[in-house]
Amino acid sequence: MADKHLQFLDIPRKDPDKLRPEVRTKQFREIYSQYSAEAAAQQAGRCISCGNPFCEWKCPVHNYIPNWLALINDGKLFEAAELSHRTNSLPEMCGRICPQDRLCEGACTLNDGLGAVSIGAIEKYITDEAFRLGWKPDMSNVVRTAKRVAIVGAGPAGLACADVLVRNGVKPVVFDRYAKIGGLLTFGIPPFKLEKEVVEKRREIMEDMGVEFRLNVDVGRDIAFEQLAGEFDAVFLGMGTYNYVKGGFDGEDLPGVHEALPYLISNINRELGLERDGADFVDMKGKHVVVLGGGDTGMDCNRTAIRQGAASVSCTYRRDEANMPGSRRDYRNSKEEGVTFLFNRQPIEIVGVDRVQGVKLVETRLGPPGPRGRRVPEVVPGTEETIAADAVIIAFGFLPSPADWFESHKIDLHGNGRVRVSGAPQSRFQTTNPKIFAGGDMVRGSDLVVTAVFEGREAAEGILRHLGLRKEAS
């Protein structure tokens, strides 16, 4: 055998096979296949086990990446699954939807032309395969306490919080207004990136661990928050951000202009057979679609429209290609599937008489860096143009959507609507109401799934301390 230490040179990085664009755009199924055990071992063996694991450092949940890669290289699947779950509550989802190219794989030492280790694909492989072979988190040592915690929102933050709590003997009861768990994992992220069976499997696993889900319950409407606060020892809020960023230009209210999330949700509802009213469904079949915004949500809209049979899909973004915030992988996949990208374009108006007919765009160029370090686009005068459109989707991001009952429960907010939490190690993610904790997008603003997972887990640690179930290290 070739020198083990030079495996990264001898064997190139190889991602799992991907369906051809003409096949994958016909369906809403995931486009990547699974590694074989041999391929996974070989790819994992490319890791050089750096003394400074930059992957682990860059990973928001600080997965023990080199360690589980070594286990997979050794064929120790269940041990790898166990270790993977030590730091991440939803590894099979992060493996699928994390922008690895900006996180672990981007930081991988081998990413300097040698080809980063395919960490995401292996992470997904580990949990998928372990589940398939009957592995479950080991709960045999857990000593049940009498403590119960209510979790509002079954999205990534809430699930992660429940995972850590139940492993520490605390009973989590998770409330969600939808019929399925997952929050945006289920309703926001299209199935070609994350099939819903994966979320269902996680639900089974978590229920088996002792997590209770109460679905179709909208806290504040179906059940009063007072009741939760009274009945449970603590409450965790992981309710996400649902207010849309508006463009602030004319024509946004025209028929044919859609907000990204309802559009995606309507599509998933149909896919899952959860549709209540056929009229909610937004169909792009045969339409010329313009998507405004270059983030991950924008990419999801692009590719959903393509799969619905849109006549054309164009995506506009106000900065250049290099500065686009969305995952590079999703960008590449979108292009392969036929999306046209218009960079350095800013919409100034949606035109149309009684329904949308086009988008008026203006060219931009990048000016000096703004207060947050990113270069601010400036409009180039005299460059207006209008492109024709039958439908426009606005994907500018999300803003916090604080519930009306926050104030009465002394849950303070930052000026921009984000929930204010403690940063102290003893009381991580505690809101200004000591009994109530919060994490995820509603705390940090719209961000990645993996950061929500991290905050949910950290909040659980804070709750455990608050309940007197954890002591600090000496």
Binding site: I48, G51, P53, T109
Partner: protein, 1078 residues
Amino acid sequence: MGLRATRRVDDLLKSRHPYKAWLKKGVRYLQTDLIDPRLAAEPFDGETLAQYQKMFNVSAEERDEIIRVLAEDESEAVGSMGDDTPMPVLSKKVRSLYDYFRQQFAQVTNPPIDSLRESIVMSLQTQIGPEANIFVPAPQHAEQIVLSSPILSQRKLRQIVALAESGVPNEFIDLQYDEHLDLKTALLRVCDQAEAAVRQGKLVLLLSDRYLVKAKLPIHALLATGAVHHRLVATGLRCKCNILVETGTARDAHHFACLIGYGATAVYPYLAYQTLFDLMRQGVLKMEASARQELGRSYRRGIRKGLLKIMSKMGICTVAGYRSAQLFEIVGLGDEVVELCFEGTDSRIQGADFGDLKADSEYLARRAWDKTEPVEQGGLLKYMHNGEYHMYNPDVVATLQSAVMTGDYGQYQEFAGLVNNRPVSCIRDLLNLKAGAAPIPIEEVEPISAILARFDGAGMSLGALSPEAHEALAIAMNALGGRSNSGEGGEDPVRYGTEKNSKIKQVASGRFGVTPEYLINAEVLQIKIAQGAKPGEGGQLPGHKVNDMIARLRFARPGVGLISPPPHHDIYSIEDLAQLIFDLKQVNPKALVSVKLVAEPGVGTVAAGVAKAYADLITISGYDGGTGASPLSSIKYAGTPWELGLAETHQTLRANELRHRVRLQTDGGLKTGLDVIKAALIGAESFGFGTAPMVALGCKYLRICHLNNCATGIATQHNVLRSKYFVGLPEMVINYFKFVARECREIMASMGVRTLAELIGHTELLQISPGETSKQSKLDLKPVLANAALVSDKPQYCIDPHNQPFDRGALAEQMLADMRAAIDAKSGGKFSYPVNNFNRSIGARVSGEIARRWGNAGMSAAPLIVNLQGSAGQSFGVWNAGGLHLNLEGEANDYVGKGMAGGKIILKPHARSIFVARDTVIMGNTCLYGATGGELYAAGRAGERFAVRNSGALAVVEGTGDHCCEYMTGGVVCVLGTTGVNFGAGFTGGFAYVLDMERDFVDRYNHELIDIHRVSPEGMGTHVQHLRGLIEQHTEATGSAWGAQLLNDFRTYIGRFWVVKPKASAIDSLLENLRRAA
């Protein structure tokens, strides 16, 4: 006469008593079955194992990277780079008590031993039984149970315990104590129990933490061992009993060394065995089924090697000499702990007390008994989130790299902020600059060029580094006006005189590529006594890093691993060091000679000796220096922080009025301008940087340097990695050092100081911070700042331009004056001088000038022939250059032909001498050490260690002492007489002929790497011819009577010769290789 008298005394003594009968009757050997299948006769279930691992702080990392490797490879795990974690007393994590103990190592005052190549002198034999008065011979002395090593298998422990019935009574002492008790009381109770047991006649005390009980805590086995040992010493009972330790705390070699060093006779590491058993059960270990049976034995072998290495660092041969010797420095334990358990050990800065230690074990116990808590993942060896802090963590590396690539000082400041405001990790992090000085405008501070001149690169060899990286560092340092360091391993002569020349040339124990020309192309010649990452140890460049270029520069063969011995074989004392310094000053009088030491207690005294030995520069390295490859336990457990060593050295030099004679440098983890300022305040005027400039070049601190697969193309000789993935440019290093100097200037301005010189030694400008943790707050750092209390009128830094030796080398100067014209004209000539034994290093002065003008071999065609008569002093013909022929009639001292690159040295006895030349020693020890070429003929015997590390010289002598041809990598050695023992240890290149009249050479050579073949006329005609030619040359040059006799009856003698060669070389290729080398 003297010999015979000694033998008679021996005979008299040994016949006085029936010693052999006593031994036969008294000594019992414990049965050793080759295979002990019961690695863990009562295996822990997974849950129990996890509980013990948590209680004794075994992480998954330690299990996989340390314990598993010991069993799989039968040797300690190897790593690279340095230790960048805090000392345990500074750490915010619970660290092993063993981590507070730093192994002592020999430097200058006595040599470390090479426990691998010189294993014949090493022993771990251990005895159990009482020790009686040795002045009263009696059969009881022999009543001992003998073990081959102090690491017990389960079977042996059982046998010992079972001996109770046959008169070896033992006492089981449980180390668990009630958690409400305080630790000191618990320890005293253990001591009481031990004392009472011995008074009752118990011979063996078994200290055990084997049986964990809830609501009890285990006393750390090392605390208990030390405390019991000291109690028994104090009560006069110590010799009546033996301490055995059954503990979960002992896993790596250092742990065993600590226990034995504080009195344990033997140790049973049950948790290591249980952990291995579990790995085997899980099928994780990669080994044959049969080998699995011997897992415990493999592990013990690994530990034994490590233990021997630790002992050999101090130059100790037998474990009996190491036991209870307390050869450690404690960093970070308070007096109450040291007084009760480790009395007499150096512990200079206080630290954790019994309360802190108990709190640590309470934390561990809480996790151990909580089944939901996992076994710790680790983080001590490598950065891991939530694990131990690492000073070169990814944040630090990434920020530094982006700063040097962009050249943006703002980004550098971000890097400096990360470093300067990190959690307390070093002693200097607890020393803050005093506020309140009136700042001055920055324009008034000396320019950065003045500061840059004080910066040196630390020694990193070409071999460890790729040529591209090595040259980039040299170009950068030369551009900045600092100095780069060649490291050990020679330097390509095409770099001499260019911007790629390393101004510092290192002379280390391997003497690879150390030629007169190499030495002449230097501003500083650095003698590396020890290396911060692995003091007291040698090094090894693995064969896969030795490509054609490396082999050429090191005078070795490609693909063959190269060994740097632990000691310099020419430095066994401070006088020897003085001699080497003199040798270097003779060959290159313009160069400054520097001596690199590693911080440990007493380094100040050593440094004072070094200053008196006329070194110009002393470097004090901290424990945190880097390495290209070293056992992990050496990286982690030896050497102390430079802050302590530098402070001690600076204070000692000043107190002895030596400070003005030497420059003082420090290195070890320096990263920012603030580090430089603090080092200056503690006493340094010059600063060495190793890792930081390498990180600036693109090193990501991967710790894989020893594997040759460095993905950044820096620490590798792999062509693809070097050519495609090395992105470093000298400018990055230049940016880095300019940033550091700029930061220095800014700090100086804020302190109101104009030059760095004004800061040196001014410890009153530092104040001690109270610390962030309970342990930190108990430290006493006043000794580091004690310089301020010394009289203030003595110099704080070097004033003399050169530390001029007392010996002005009058004869050498005379010789050079006589030969100058012949050298300049390259004309050769004949010269004659009488010589005396106070004429040292004769020839070096001339060789240096030859090399300066004409290179190593430039005068070979027009030789200077020098006839000398008398007794030559040490280092006769040292660094001999091509074209210098030294004919000595008389005899010579040690180090003849050391570092010889060319020319000839001929020694013959005085014409009127009456002794038999071939039975008489004509030159001393360690001749031809590190020679790379030339010829030596001596009509007489050589002393010990003849031709050590020879890599090209041809030599004929008539007999040698022990260790002849050790570590040889090239050349030919012909011995026309008996050799001592251990011939050819570590011999990987070249070959030898040995005349074996007594037919016992087979017992005298080291069988590890070489084999021997009879020289026979059939099929070996070329060797016969070659050998005959050598003897003819020898006889002609020296007039040897023995040589003449051999030639006269050559057919009789030829069959008594052996050809000695490395196993890896084919016998037919030897002469071919020789021709090619010539």
